[in-house]
Amino acid sequence: MSQVQNTLDQNETPQTEAPKPISPFRQQMREFWFYFSENKGAVAGLFFFLFVVLVAVFADVIAPHSPIEQYRDFILIPPAWQEGGNAEFLLGTDPVGRDLLSRLMHGARFSLYAGCIVIVISLSIGVMLGLSAGFFRGMYETIVMRVMDVILSIPSLLMALVLVAILGPGLRNAMIAISITYLPHYVRLARASAVAESARDYVTASRVAGAGTWRLMCITILPNCMAPLIVQASLSFSTAILDTAALGFLGMGAQPPASEWGTMLAEAREFILSAWWVVTFPGVAILLTVLSINLMGDGLRDALDPKMKRS
């Protein structure tokens, strides 16, 4: 790590005459941005993702229509540039006359929200389970890891479907179900890092200095396990959006009239041969959002994972 910083400093000194002392956090951020911005795709992904976030936040203001208002005189209007299109409905309308563009804009909220919640739940529970398993070892570790093996051996979508069937369909339950299926990845990563880190000298030093269990786990060890966890979180953010949409598509996620992208696709399925736009646009929205997050994830891995760093 220090080597990397040295080369960085050498690169930067010629540009700034007398480098001011900067805080370690800013130094870290600068190093992070240095590696992240080397990956052009990642930067493009970041910008598109910020765009989606802005659309989701300001959907109420920028959407031309309400996402649930039905314009009964304008049913299945094609996009504005096609014959029969109407400039008022830029991307056309759906089978009950709702504006597609407005629905897509509001749909961004559901997807981002679901992605965030799934990460928060699975990351926090997974890290706690994994850290404690790696820290305490013994019987507790065996039980936790075997339970994770069980979850891993059932395909995630099947597991999520059965869980949603138990909890009842809906966005909230879909998010809980998806979070559970993502747990094992975090538990395994956190446990592996915790096991590796607790043998290191600085942990022993901290223990000798009288640090308590909680402090050792969360303040001494955890920050040094974060890099792979952040990369995993960025990966599962995109898969969480895909899985939420898949559950919506199967009728087990967000329920109509919610404009969740997967649910929109499910409603549009029967019009696939007559009105291509109701099927195409929600899918494009999912694909582009997920792609931008995955591009960002690649950049994050380049910037954070020391093993992947080019020497």
């Binding site: 093996d149 069980v150 059932i154 199967l250």
Partner: protein, 339 residues
């Protein structure tokens, strides 16, 4: 070697017991009463209700129910499906070949394209081809496959567009093919009907592409990174210094070692394939286990869901075991380290 397999098998037992416990408790947590579901809208008298609960075994204490479930599994008895009144195991194996056929085609498709693409991208690292290919594979990896299927249907099957491939099922209704192996491609070849094989193959095209897309992207990416790592090794440089042709270096020296990673990756796609099969089979009305599971869940077919989870998880576990085993076979270092 035998010890290696036995240890691995031993590790599977607690996981398998865990899966049975999860499947067992899941269906008992499902809302609704099994007997009322069976009776449907007609309703059922309290006496008959109690009688049915007793025949289904729902009146016994939970641990006793679980125990008889386990004993049933050991005897190959997973209960009877509510909706079809057939044994769950039979239901499963009637549909299983359809899924296997689809998944096999998908993984072959994925490997046939993903492997060479990844190798070429690694050899021509940094080239336009490399960048394009990695862009495509990341797009494939980000693909919502349920939408991808619909899009392909619009492109290939819509009468306005190409109108090339059929949209649903395994074979055209015009043909009647006897079930011999359960694999439609083989059965249709064996049958005398002309054009049956062509019809079966045409039905497979779109589902194969849809199901194979994500594994293909993963295989291409992993092959590329595995090859990149190996092309930087000393023995590759030695081979170059000896004057071997680039074809021989990449094709024989490097690829052999890269395959260790790649085979593991392909093996790990089984879970992805089975999850993807649920979506793919739903879109294309493919009569496999994915569609069966979805239908059983929505019909609250308790025993079918319970048995299905156990069977699918067992397949995933067995394939993972097989991958471990293959891994040891290709890379003897792993076996030697353990023993």
């Amino acid at each position: 070697m035998i010890r290696f397999i036995l240890t691995k098998l031993g590790l599977l037992i607690p996981t398998f017991l865990g899966v049975t416990l999860v499947a067992f408790s899941f269906i008992r947590m499902l809302p609704g009463d099994p007997v009322e579901l069976l009776a449907g809208e007609r309703g059922v008298s309290p006496e008959r209700h109690a009688e049915l609960m007793a025949t289904l075994g729902f009146d016994k204490p939970l641990w006793e129910q679980y125990f008889s479930f386990l004993v049933g599994i050991l005897h190959g008895d997973l209960g009877t499906s509510f909706s079809s009144k057939q044994p769950v195991l039979e239901e499963f194996f009637v549909r299983f070949p359809a899924t296997i056929e689809l998944a096999t085609c998908a993984i072959i498709f994925a490997a046939l394209i993903g492997l060479p693409a990844g190798i070429v991208a690694a050899v021509k690292r940094g080239s336009a081809f490399d960048h394009t290919l990695m862009g495509i594979s990341l797009t494939g990896y980000s693909m919502p496959i349920f939408w991808w299927g619909l899009l392909l249907i619009i492109l290939f099957s819509s009468p306005d567009m190409l109108n090339l491939t059929p949209v649903s099922g395994r074979i055209s209704a015009l043909f009647w093919v006897d079930t011999q192996t359960g694999f439609m491609l083989i059965d249709s070849l064996l049958s005398d009907e002309k054009g049956a094989f062509k019809s079966a193959a045409a039905h497979l095209v779109l589902p194969t592409i849809v199901l194979g897309t994500i594994p293909m992207a993963i295989i291409a990416r992993q092959t590329r990174s595995a090859m990149l790592e190996i092309l930087g090794e000393d023995y590759v440089r030695t081979a170059k210094a000896k004057g071997l042709s680039p074809f021989r270096i990449v094709g024989i020296h490097a690829l052999r070692n890269a395959l260790i990673t790649v085979i593991t990756v392909i093996g790990l796609q089984v879970g992805v394939l089975l999850a993807g099969a649920i979506l793919t089979e739903t879109i294309f009305s493919w009569p496999g286990i994915g569609k069966w599971m979805i239908d059983s869940i929505s019909r609250r077919d308790y025993f079918a869901v319970q048995g299905g989870i156990v069977l699918i998880a067992s397949i995933v576990m067995l394939v993972n075991l097989l991958v471990d085993f293959m891994y040891g076979l290709i890379n003897p270092r792993i076996l030697h380290r353990r023993s």
